[in-house]
Symmetry: C2
Subunit: 124 residues, 2 copies
DNA sequence: ATACAATGTAGAGTAAACTCTATGTCAAGA
DNA sequence: TCTTGACATAGAGTTTACTCTACATTGTAT
């Protein structure tokens, strides 16, 4: 299937402006039809979903841009791309660990608040 | 103990400019000495560490600002503050869940790359 | 044939969170 | 006394990632 930018925007939940911006930044390169309109494919759809995943896990656009360049260069860059992904996986693991640490601290704080509220309500 | 902004900057790992910015935004209100220099206390230190935790878990400055206002208003705002924190805890839980989902997808992708690299290296 | 909605480009504007610059004050050491 | 370094304020500048505006084309329904 092929999609216009409007359809693709709905499918991906990314604004039309954002899609054009991503293209401008070299993250994605949809085909064009005879009237110069963008034609997004299902491959583009899978790719943009992956881009979203990288973004949502904290990878900056610049780095995704680099990855996209390697991807466009094809098989010879497979190894380098995998190295990027394994490095990113480590970062993500660390990120999750940090958040879990923060979560337990937040739990502690909330417990403390619970006690305080209990104490101040008794104190009448 | 009391600290100058320079000392406090080292202790908190936040730039001097950032500390002044936080103060400007109402996140923290250090005392002043006779020469109008900022005097940060140990209480300020504990507070800024908590601010960092909120920030690192994705709370925007505006919301931390609101929390700081409640905190400054004292005991009558205990309950509202706790509600903010429990809401934030839920957001954090969800964030961690999402990241874990992303992590397994990333693992899959890396496995796929491993196979591809294996295949292309055999294919000579 | 005409209207109108979607699309195209180029470039400006926005929001968040800093980060830096210019300029001035002040306490302490040479 | 003079200089230096840390600190003060006000406001400008930066970075990232969009988001929007202005204006020109094009495809489709009436």
């Amino acid at each position: 299937m092929e999609y216009s930018i409007g359809e693709f925007s709905r499918l991906t939940d990314l604004g039309i402006h954002t899609l054009r911006y991503y293209e401008h930044e070299g993250l994605i390169t949809p085909g064009r039809n005879s009237s110069n309109r963008r034609c997004y494919s299902d491959k583009d759809l899978a790719w943009i979903e992956f881009i979203k995943r990288l973004k949502d896990t904290g990878m900056p656009i610049k780095e995704i841009q680099h990855y996209a360049k390697l991807r466009a260069a094809g098989d010879p860059t497979l190894r380098e791309r995998m190295e990027m992904l394994t490095a990113h996986r480590e970062a993500l693991n660390e990120q999750i660990r940090q958040l879990q640490k923060h979560l337990t601290k937040l739990d502690d704080k909330i417990d403390f608040y619970r006690q305080e509220i209990d104490r101040t309500s008794k104190n009448n």
